[in-house]
Structures are given as C-alpha cells and as structure tokens.
Symmetry: C3
C-alpha cells in the first residue's frame, strides 16, 4: 500500500464519517506578522495588545480569517485535494477567541453526498471544526465541494443533501468576543467614529483602495495555512490545465477584501459568522482586487450593550474599481466579480 | 457623509492642527523576522538577544528603521494619501529603544503650509511623533510633502514655511541607546574591528553588494508598516499613471541601503538621527540597488565613553555599482541615484 | 585598509585556521512562521507546541533545516563569498534541539585545501559548527567549496584532502532528539500511520506534489538566513553571468524537497544527520520542484525504543514529476535532477 496520499475521491467519502485532520498548528506572533504583511489589515483590536486589553481581550486576538484559513488548510489534504471547485460555505461561526501561542487542530464530518449526473464527480458536504488545545471549538463551518471520482462506475456511498441555513441569526452570535468595555475603545485610534447606530441596512460602501497580488504572496499565504491544494503552487501542472496558471486560494481573496473593508468599516473588528459565500471567478497573480460592501441587516445581541452585529455583503472585483458598486444584472454576475460574501461582523454600540 | 476616507487634501490642513493617527501596533518578534527576511540586515545588536543584553540592552532592540516605517505608515492615511511627492525629511531623532512586545501609536502636527503657484498643490510640513505604550516618545521627525488640492480655487488655511535644522548636533543624540559596556561588545561576532576612532570625515565606503527588489517584497514590507499609499499596491491604477507601474516605498529603499551598509559600517549599530534625505529618483521592481557612504562628521557624546556618533551620507543607486562613488555633477544628480540620505549613527569607541 | 569585506580567496585560507563568524542570531517564533510560509512544512512536531510537549520536547523545536541554514548563512561571508560552486557536504550531525528564543553563532575550521590544476581556483574543505548561547554545539558539518584565487600565481597555503566518512553510522545519532514518549504520539494528527517498522530498504516513494519557486521567496529565505552570497540577490550582476539570472540557494532546494517529503514520510520528523549531498543542477525562479525518496538503510539506536533511524536518499527534479523515479543512467544524472541528498531521519518505532 502506498505511503503517500493522493487525497480522497468522491466514492471514498461516507455519510457520517468523521475525519481527524493532520497537522496541529501553534499560531504565534510570527503568523500574526505574516498575516499583516500579506494583507495590510488595520483593525486596531487585532493590531495592538494595548488597545485589545483595554477593552477586555486577554491580548490582541488572532485575526478571525487567519483562524479560518488555518482550520480550512488542515481539511484540504483529506477533503478537497481532488476537488474541481469549492462551491460554497454556510453556517460558519467563530466560537472562541484565539491568541498567539494557542494550538489548533481540525476535524470534519461528512454531512452530505450527491453524485453528479455525469458520474465523473460528486458534491461532498462537510462540516469542519477547529479546536483549541483546551478542547474548545473555536470555529464551525460547512462547505461543499465538487470532488472527482476515481472510478466513474463506482457507486456513491450514499446520497443526502443537507438542509443548511441561508443565514445565521445575528442574535445568536458573539461567542468569540468577550464582553467589552466600550468606554475604553478609542475611536481616534481605531480610525473611524462610526458605530452600530451609524450603519443602516441598504447602505453601500466603496472601499476605494485596490491591491495587486503577486505569486509569491499567495503562495506564502497558502503555505502558511498548510493548505496543500495543488492548483495554488504548481505552475508546471497548472500550465497544462484549464487556466494555464496557478489559481489564487479563495481565502486569500476573502482576506484581501476584508482588509480593504477597513476603509468604511474600521470598527467592525470581528467577523462573528459567515452566512455564505461564492468564489464567483478566479483571481490570478498580477490582477488587482477592489471591493465594496452593503449592509444587509443589523442585529442586537441579547443582553449585550457593548457590541451589535451588522450583516454585510462584500463583493470583490478584479481590475475594476467599485465606485459604482458592480453587481449582478439579473442572474448574471458582473464579469469583474470574483467574490460575493455574506457575513456578520461585530461593531461597538 | 461618507464613511470612507479618501485622505486629506491641501486645503484640509490647518497650521497647528494635531492629528492622532489610527492604528496602534504591537511590534513583535514576528515583525523582526519579517524585517530580516526583507532586508537581510546583519547588525549584531538587533540580531541577537545574547549580544544585546551582554552590552546593556534589555534584549535585542527593534531595528530603528522598522520603528520609523511603523510610525511613518500610520501618518500616511491622514497626511500623504493625496501626495504627489514626499519632498524631504528633517530633524528626525530616535528617542527611546523599542523592544518586541511594545506598542506604538503616532501623532502629527501641521507645522507649515505653502500653496504652490499653480494652485493645484501645496506643501504640507508635518512633525510626526511615535509613542510607546508608556507614553514615551520614541521617534520625532519632520517631513514635507506636496499634496494635491481638492479644489484649486480653495484658499489655503494659512502660510508658513518652518525653519528646520540642516543637521542635528551629534552631541545631543543617543537617547535611544542605553549606556553600554563596550568591554562586552564582541568585535568578532559583530563582523568588523572598526570603531569610532577608525573612521575619518571625508572617508568613502563602497558597500559592494547589490540587492534586486521584487514586487512581492516591497508590497509585503509596506503592508507590514500598514502604509496605505496607493502607488505601492495598485497596479491597475498605476498602469494608467506617470510611471506605468507601482512605485517602491522610499522607506524600503532606505532600509535596503542601510542593510547593505553593514559591509563597511558593521559596528554602526544604531541610527540615532536622520538629518535629511531626498528620494532622488524612483525604484521599481526588478531593479538592483547599490550603495556607498561617506563620513561627513564625527561627534563625541558628552559624558559617554561607550559610543560616539558618525554623521554619514549614504547614496543609493539603481542598476549601477558604486565602485566609483557616483555623485552629483554640479547641481545634477548622477542619473542612477535614487537616495541621498544624511544621518547620524552610533558606534562603539 | 578597506573597511569592507570582499570575502576570502583561496590563497587566504590556512590549514587549521579557525574563523569565528559574525552575526549571532536569536531564532524566534517569527522565523518559524516565515519558514512555514516559505516551505509549507507539515511535520507535527515542529508545528505544534502541544504535540511536541506531549511526547517530551520542551516545545516545538525549530526545524532542523532552519538551524542548518542559519549556521550555513553565517559561514558565507568568510568561506564562500568567492565560491564558484558548493561541491558537497559530509558528516553533518544535528546535536541538540533548538527552540524559539535561543541564539546561534557559528565557527569554521579549515580542514583541507587543494589547488586546482588551472591555478585559478582551489577547493576549501571546512568544518563548520553552530553553537547555542549556552555553549552547546547544535550542528557540526563539513562542506567543500571551489573558491576563486585572487592571484593565480599565489602559492596555496598548504595541501590536504581530508578523509571524510561516506555516511554516518545511524546508531550514533539522535542527540538532538530527547527521549520520547511514543504512546503520546498521535498518528492521526501526524498525518500517517507508518512507523520505523513499516519502511524497508529499497523502498521508493514519489512525493507527488510540486512547488514552483518565485524570486521573492528564495530571496526572503536567503536573507532570513543572513546568507550574503551574491548570486542569490543581484540580478544586475547575474544578468552578466553564466546563467543570466539569480541562482536559488541550494539550501532552499533542500528545504522544499524536505517539505514535499512529508507526503510519504510524515512521521520522519527529525533530520538527525546528512551523509552527503550534491546540488546536481541549478534551480531558477519560475521552475517547479518535485521530489522522490528511497530508503537506503535502517538503524536502531542503542538503548532507545522510542525512535529508529531511516537512511533516506531524496532526489529533487525541476519541471518533471517523479512518478517514475528519475535517477542516474550510469554515470549521467537525469537532466531534470537538481538535488541528490543522502540523510538520516528519525521516526517513531
């Protein structure tokens, strides 16, 4: 039997199967610095121990998306090494703050399987969880992925399309955010005076700035997350593939859009949940990412006067500024769109 | 009112205005490692906790220029987002050592304004300061920047060209350097036997080595400093601009030249002050930086037998080795010149 | 006398000469994070403090090759700045674990000299050692390098070709690995069930994955190691040289191959020794590295029931997958080969 892994194929997955993923990872201030260098994020809570402890964190928490990418990366060798496409996310909740020095591991449960009519591929629905060294679940999310079959004739090991929430209830969120003392939150240092009450559903924000991505950047990011998906690293193989070049990890796109969203959402310091998201199109090195957001909804958190939740939709485009909020035209996406993300952020009241 | 910032224009600044800049930043050993990876600096004091503590530091201090870039970066969103050019530096003093784990924030005071005759732009003179979490000022410097006007017809909010020192008095420097035990300074480990007494005004040093810069490198550096100047990151917009490409942050050039200067100035471990500097020409990715230095002056520090100050001029060039010390020809700069920096370094006696 | 160093030439070396290299270096979690971002290594012991301490390490040890590159880098300014080629390694032993926060310095002893018949160059044999702040030797290795002469007429300072072991005795290794509690070694988290007993001499493993290298990546790596070899950084000079471009540091190739070897050797968590190695051909940015390994030998460690040693040969290629184990054809190397490395790894029993 081969000692190497070529990843699982669609027919290898079983409903209810639980997979413990390799490699546990201690996140440190080194990872935090690299995350800063890769995205240039400027949220004060994640940037300054002094700012974070003044309001009630133990220290500056690790960026939520760095936690996400770390957990996601661990799932790749078992779940999506033979994926054709990462189709969607749902029910993603950040459940506990993670600080430098803490160690994460990941597990996944197969919650759905659906063979495609071509019998060449099937869709795998998986609930993945990230765990802190003390056994606390820090992240819980569902994604579904189209995975190749090894053998088109193989029978799928079951069929179930799970029922997933279109969006989380904002009022149930906030577990990863300690109760904060907003009187100690310095709105000059945070970069914006705008709070929960200042945002209204329907409001749109062009984040103005653009960020060009280089091959070395997305490769370093994706390796930092120990994500082994081949499409990101292997130009020799990709040169023969459908794009002719390396594809940038979708999570890199999310982190870039989130970093740009600081300009307009500077106090929305914590991603509490991701309702759903689509990687509408690929991003390649040399292209420039822009982003705009709209406020979809607002929610008070029961019993919490410190922070409220904004439901935000962020759209990222490539090589197209977002001054006029490029969007769908009926069913069709604007051709520049690369990301359409629906998530909840927490912001001081 | 828009929740996003497009930065200030010339007519937005007021004489005497004090700006508290966002985002406070805890510098860590992660930032130190990235700084090493970006520039390859080899000064023993900043590289080894053992070396640094042996001579009297609490631990290896953070590179002075990393402190500078961090503070500078914070000023960009408020001061120079609409700058046409960064014209000069003066009166820059490093006032306290910064160690990993410490947090910096920045403020700026508008100390001069001068509209240009075209009325399209004006010069803003600003004194910026970096502050440690304990309220101690770690860095104080003046820069002046040519900033666009939003409305050419707008009246400037005052006119004053401040008087600035051409150079600092070397004898007043050294506040960021604790009193050292030079008997514990190991000149084998530091890479050179040369001390204060070995350098003479007029002496010129070719730093020999060259360093080619890649887009990913300067982008990662500039994001690490949370510097948001668009010209460094946005190829889509810059492709339409005067150079057709991204401009490398001037501070990246300074750090590269400083790192190369190790070969010849290995014991000049601390930048105590910057008298002035000009970014003579732009540097672009793919070009190779070289540097040479001359000793302009020397100063003893009153009451200190441990270290003395050398006033150094470092010239950086692009795609041209510095074997023959390329310099000005009358008023004209050598066409390869990209940096002309005048600063004080401390070196063991 | 010039204050700058252009490095030593062949005739500058003396048999028995001992060189203390500049710059001591404290390795931190920042370096560990960068190492992860550069290579994407996934060995659990080096990745997780929880995993490492559970089995008996003080914390996650620093990757052996990061220790190697750090020590090697220090030797470059004195040993190989004027090298034409790095010819080989021998007798390389890792002697103590290194943890974040520890400081390394390096020394070298000239153990052999042999002028080439052209009298333009000569071979320098050097034993280099890395030392921890407490005086313990953490790494000891021999390399030999072809170094230019400054003056072809100069007489060499001696002639001696040292006797070097073709391979280390596996039974003498393991000093850098504390006695481990393998009952606490989690083979799900480590990514593979295969242990010492599961590998047999003669076995071959294709590591499957490929990794494309970018200029920014290998430059950042090599600067992180404070390695000053010009061929890696200076496109202006290299554009005039034999390849027309920057050469990637051979140690970067070794680290990439080692990271890829996780797929098939996931539990071989510690490089205990390097018997020998050849950089068969150069790697350039834009090329994709693949690797395969064979098990050459196995050794029990006297008195240790926790780990055993596998002697592994890893071959790396460029732009050629290793499905069919490309190798020598008689005396000739497969033209895709860039690395042929013979080393001992430790693996749980």
């Amino acid at each position: 039997m081969s000692k190497t892994s070529s990843g699982n194929y669609f027919e290898d997955f079983r409903l209810g199967q639980v997979i413990e993923h390799a490699t546990p990872r201690t996140l440190t201030s080194g990872d935090v610095a690299l995350y800063a260098a890769l995205y240039g994020s400027r949220f004060a809570v994640q940037s300054s121990n002094v700012f974070a402890t003044a309001i009630g964190y133990e220290s500056a928490p690790i960026d939520d998306l760095l936690v996400f990418h770390t957990v996601f990366g661990k799932t790749v060798p078992d779940i999506s090494l033979n994926a054709v496409a990462n189709l969607g996310y749902a029910d993603c909740r950040f459940l506990a703050a993670v600080y430098p020095g803490e160690t994460l591991r990941a597990t996944s449960e197969i919650i759905g399987l659906k063979e495609n009519s071509s019998r060449q591929t099937g869709i795998v629905y998986v609930r993945s969880r990230g765990w802190r060294q003390d056994g606390r679940c820090v992240l819980d999310f569902v994604r579904w992925v189209m995975v190749r079959k090894r053998d088109p004739q193989a029978a799928p090991a079951g069929e179930l399309v799970p029922s997933l929430p279109a969006a989380l209830d904002g009022a149930t969120l906030g577990h990863a955010c300690p109760r904060l003392d907003i009187s100690a939150y310095d709105f000059a240092l945070s970069g914006s005076p705008y709070r929960f009450a200042d945002y209204a559903p329907g409001e749109r924000i062009d984040h103005i700035d653009g960020m060009t991505v280089e091959e070395a950047e997305h490769q370093m990011a994706t390796r930092l997350y120990q994500n082994t998906a081949r499409v990101h690293f292997n130009q020799f193989i990709e040169s023969l593939g459908r794009f002719g070049r390396r594809l940038i990890y979708g999570g890199h796109v999310i982190s870039l859009a989130r970093a740009l969203s600081f300009n307009g959402l500077a106090n929305a310091f914590h991603v509490a949940a991701i309702n759903g998201g689509r990687h509408v199109g690929p991003l390649f090195a040399g292209q420039t990412l822009f982003a705009w957001s709209s406020v979809l909804d607002k929610a008070e958190l029961p019993g919490r006067g410190d922070v409220g939740a904004l439901r935000v939709r962020t759209v990222a485009t490539k090589d197209r500024p977002c001054t006029d909020y490029p969007d769908k035209a009926g069913e069709a996406d604007d051709p520049s769109m690369i990301l359409d993300l629906d998530y909840w952020v927490l912001i001081p009241r």
